[in-house]
Amino acid sequence: MSKKKENQEQIQQELQEEILEEVQDEAVAEWSPKQITRRQRAWKDFRVNWQLYLMVIVPVIYYVIFRYVPMFGNILAFRKYNSGGSIFGTGPLTLKYFKQFITSKPFWQAFSNTLILNGLYLIVRFPLTLIFALLINEIRNLHWKKFVQTVSYLPHFISMVIVCGMIKELLSTSGPINALIASWGGEKIPFISLAQWFRTIFVTSGVWQSLGWGTILYLAAMTGINPSLYEAATVDGASHFQKVIHVTIPCILPTIATLLILDIGGLVGSGGAFEKVYLLGNPMTAETSEIVSTYVYKMGVESGNMNFATAVGLFEGLINLILLTCANLVSRKVAKTSLW
């Protein structure tokens, strides 16, 4: 809602500015015989704002070199790379590398693992985060609320190296989880080296790390809800639970939609998954833990198959872009919210 309002305000402002500009231009036109051309207007914009343009130069150069050059460097998926040679490869374009990975079994294994891991993680984390946000929102004691928030945000700031180190310590055969299992008379389980446990560990630790941080945008949206809506619901005799269902959730629906789009867009992406999978996975769990981005790393950086790895990475990036666009389209139709 507020977004629409803002947009309207913005449009109004822009309109006003344009009118102002036109008035100024007309004033200029009165004394200058020629019409002001587009180029002159651009020159005027530059003369007034040249300092802003100056500010932006270094970042733009940075973006060209460190963001756009690699983007075009994806051409390595089609041209041969010689170590030390041009980063755009040499020789004619070829689809050889694409054919290589499309027909390779480890790639499809990694691809399905990526989908399964990210999908499971999304399905488990998304509703839990929403519920946690609603529960935090119900806390009336402000000090307690702040404490819960501070504590639950903490894991977000911890390096993946340490998170994975902790996981290994907690799950080791001499760790507390196995001690608990042993005290119940169970057999100790070497979690880290068992392929069938990898997904559970990945999802659980991911929830542990992101549960609190994930609530921050929901809570922001909830503080923006007009209190009179709740008052009206109270007058209508709504219970607390009904207020959550009929006031809170509809009001934060745009936020939910936006976050869901972003998450779906990241289903195939490496995102934060790469570091964790790389740190937690090992040859014994490869059948469930190898994902596309770790596969790219191993094939490219470790084995030196730059072309092959670039082709795989490009494929991943494109699928990501397509997914994001589709999710965005659906959300625009259904929830009337979109990223662009």
């Binding site: 690699p70 994806n74 529960l135 070497p190």
Partner: protein, 312 residues
Amino acid sequence: MSNLEKSTPEFKVEEIHIHNRKNKIKESTGYKVFTVVNTIIMILIAFATLYPFLYLVSQSFSSKEAIIAGHTSLIPKGFNIDTYIYVIKGQHNNYEFLRYYGNTILYTVIGTVLSLFFSCMLAYPLSKNKLKINRFLSPFVIFTMYFGGGLIANYVLILKLELKDTMWGFILPMLISTYYVILMRSFFMSIPKDLEEAGEIDGLNKFGVFWHIARPLSTPIIATMTLFYAVMYWNNWFNAKLYLQNKNKWPVAYYLQTIIRGGGGASDPDAEQMSANIKSCAMVLTVLPIICVYPFIQRYYVQGMMLGGVKE
């Protein structure tokens, strides 16, 4: 007449009030139960969040013998600080841990300052709607969030620029984060235009307006970004793995990764147990600055994230 008119609304208000009160009484049992359950859930979540940290601290102060015997409680057994001395001194008594720690501090400080500076340089002009170039500049910047070069193309680029084994190879790939720039832009947009215009009328140029008006008003977002960028540099190990072969340049996070990984897999469970207290100790030392600093910046980043996030 007037008396009657007056009395009717008052009567209504009273009715609502009573209705309200009734409602509250009816709800209170259910709501009380809910509050208790909610509090218990929150306590459990807080405990589950903190437990791994407490466990690490306990391990790091415990004796080697206790850990080998499978000591898993939150109270250290065989309390000692020898592990800390050992970790800081290093295996070869050359204080290598301190060197990695120093590297991390250096990279974090330089990286954060540069990142903040250039992110502001980009985000501030982007926040000016009337700037003509933004029609091209915004999509130019935002597109990089959705599609990028991928690991290999970036890796090859850094090799080509001969940044390998330099501090810049570690810092430059993550110098400007587009997501953070967008957050900053949203915040800058919320600064009242009147103030900036007043500044210009008073004779400030565009730099002056940014420095003397926009910057002081943006403390929440700048504090937030300082924290985010600093944490990003502090925690990064993968750039070091890719680009820093020279051991003298390693940041502590990468050193930590090597000792955690090096401590034997499941094929060598003894080695894993042997070094558990050393690993815990190194982890505690690495994570300590973040845990100490972050609660104090919390009020800023909540504010910054909320403004930026909601506006986006």
